[in-house]
């Protein structure tokens, strides 16, 4: 789950990381009031789950409260990468003497949390990694002991010559590392970590991504979810216990299992079609899920055919068949349905579907070809 910048800043501030104050506004008037309270120049920043906010015009510097209100009125309601801006962060515009990058990721190759730092801060760290990998310093941390003081200082000395500043940065790194485990983050970044003209080290921007598997034991973090920042169909799917990702094509896909769902989408493409979505109905045998799945897929007007691909193992084909029959009773289907079922209770499923006036296939390639043809017609 992605957090907004203002939410990430609150988490880091709670862990003792120095950040200039600021607050979130949903109207130009609120932005004006926050800027007036802060005094001096402020930065007004769009709060959306998208990178490149600055380039899109979603980050503006304001000299005073009136200008902050004017910027907020332009940024609020603006669309960045398909997402509507509903909130802006208003924060003091700090004078900056230098910028660095500090991040914690869970690294798949070393299977450890890894601290990454770079003197090239304030820009896209992936670009730095691709173009000048020697400008990034990494340290795999032993999670049993955490980030040790000398390790943090060693990293910080790559960023600062001044030992006082290096100590301050090392302290921030250890707090960032602690925050990762405290909130269940899979990524936490400070970019930039800045020095002010008077030599202080502060965090100016924060990004935190939460591991979805942590949400159950961190209800206070789960409550930070901003459903308005997600596609409505994906919100509905999550509430129904389904994994759904909307794509641009015309062949709706309803599959059991994530790997088979991806392979089905790939096969749609292989036979000249475009998948409309990724949808995994999961491993359970619950006809209700099939009804919910069909409701979500059919709500998409770009879908011109729907393909079911079910490999019955734990999932029983007859349960899926019952779900399909039930769903078509409840919903008015206006697009053709192509059904492929094989495995556990396949014969029973075919009988249920045939009696309800549907036909069912057992071969995956044949089913995908038919669905692509129907979507093209």
């Amino acid at each position: 789950m992605n957090l907004h910048e203002y939410q990430a800043r609150e988490i880091l501030a709670r862990h003792g990381i120095p950040l200039p104050g600021g607050a979130v506004a949903t109207t130009p008037e609120e932005a004006r009031a926050i800027a007036a309270r802060l005094g001096g120049p402020v930065v007004v920043k769009a709060q959306v789950h998208a990178g490149g906010r600055g380039k899109a015009g979603g980050v503006k510097l304001a000299r005073d409260a009136a200008e902050a209100a004017a910027h907020a009125s332009r940024i609020l309601g603006m669309t960045i990468k398909g997402l509507t801006v509903r909130q802006v962060l208003v924060a003091p515009a700090a004078d900056i003497a230098s910028e660095s990058y500090v991040g914690v990721i869970v690294d798949r190759a070393s299977q450890r949390p890894v601290l990454m730092v770079s003197g090239a801060g304030g820009i896209d760290i992936e670009e730095v990694a691709a173009r000048t990998p020697d400008r990034i310093h990494r340290l795999a941390v032993d999670p049993r002991y955490g980030l040790l003081p000398h390790q943090a200082l060693g990293l910080a000395l790559h960023l600062y010559r001044d030992v006082g500043q290096a100590r301050a940065a090392a302290d921030i790194m250890r707090k960032l590392y602690a925050a990762v485990y405290a909130v269940g983050a899979s990524l936490a970044e400070i970019n930039p970590l800045a020095t002010t003209p008077d030599g202080q080290v502060i965090a100016l921007d924060a990004k935190v991504v939460i591991d979805d598997n942590e949400l159950e034991r961190h209800p206070e973090i789960a409550a930070l979810r901003d459903a308005t920042a997600e596609a409505p169909s994906e919100v509905a799917a999550r509430e129904a216990g389904l994994t759904f990702i909307k794509l641009e094509g015309s062949v709706g896909c309803c599959v059991n299992g994530a790997g088979l769902a991806m392979a089905t989408m790939d096969l749609v493409k292989y036979y000249g079609g475009e998948p409309a979505n990724f949808l995994d109905i999961g491993g359970s045998s619950n006809p209700r899920k099939v009804v919910d799945a069909l409701r979500i897929i059919t709500a998409d007007p770009t879908v011109r055919a729907i393909l079911f691909n079910i490999f019955g193992g734990i999932t029983r084909c007859d349960d899926v068949a019952n779900g399909i029959v039930e769903a078509t009773r409840q919903l008015r289907l206006t697009v053709p349905l192509v059904i492929r079922l094989t495995g556990t209770n396949e014969e029973l499923a075919v009988r249920i579907l045939t009696e309800a006036g549907f036909s069912a296939l057992t071969d995956m390639d044949e089913a995908v070809k038919q669905a692509v043809a129907q979507a093209g017609a």
Binding site: V106, D211, E216, G257, A258, L260, A263
Partner: protein, 289 residues
Amino acid sequence: MSVFLDQNTRLVVQGITGRDGSFHTRQMISYGTKVVAGVTPGKGGQLFDGVVPIFDTVADAVRETRANTAVIYVPAAAAASAVFEAADAGLGLVVCITEGIPVLDMTRVLPYLHERGARLIGPNCPGLISPGKSKVGIIPGNICQPGRIGVVSRSGTLTYEIVHQLSTQGYGQSTCIGIGGDPLIGTSFIHCLSAFQADAGTDAVVMIGEIGGTDEQQAAEFVTQAMTKPVIGFVAGQTAPPGRRMGHAGAIISGSSGTAAEKMAAFERAGISVMRRPADVVPLLKERL
């Protein structure tokens, strides 16, 4: 022959009285797996289905039954703890079916297992099966056939699809291993390839990968250096958009890294025959055997 699992596997089921644990325990027993014990704290002394003794702890189960392998069906919130417990009880092989274990928990679990010399398969995996001998996990036994093809995969139902193609066209399997769809897993492709290379009962390996991470690229490197047996590969997620988790927690393209295209290219460079679709598996095997 087979890898990781055979007639000598003596299984303890953690979470044997739960909904999933009880269902799959019955499936495993009817397949012929030697399920020697179950563990549910508070139910020690009872019998599961009148046959399998239940213990309060894994250590008790191991001491009383000489179990050598554990399978975990407990809910995500307790699953990491169940893996620690299995490792502490001295089990050499731990198979964790549970989906939804936080990745930070795994950063602590994996070094713990490593220090005790225990192998973890999973989490978030369907387990493994050596057809005709034993199965541990949830792979449907009826789609598998005994034979000489090794199968290793990050997926569940996609594996069944490909195994089904193999079985119905005369290619049985030595062992099928689902290594799991999470970003941090106990057993990688390389561990499995290495075991299949050493197994006299395996003639060729089918490797089923997906987007996310670099496990496939490392496996390709291993194939170049250490495999003499033919390898057939598939990568799911060619149409997956970047930055989105495709169901599995580990199936995500980060920036431009972890794409299906780069993995398929790595496979080809390593001399792995690349399937464009699941139905290609048998034709490619015929070319290579």
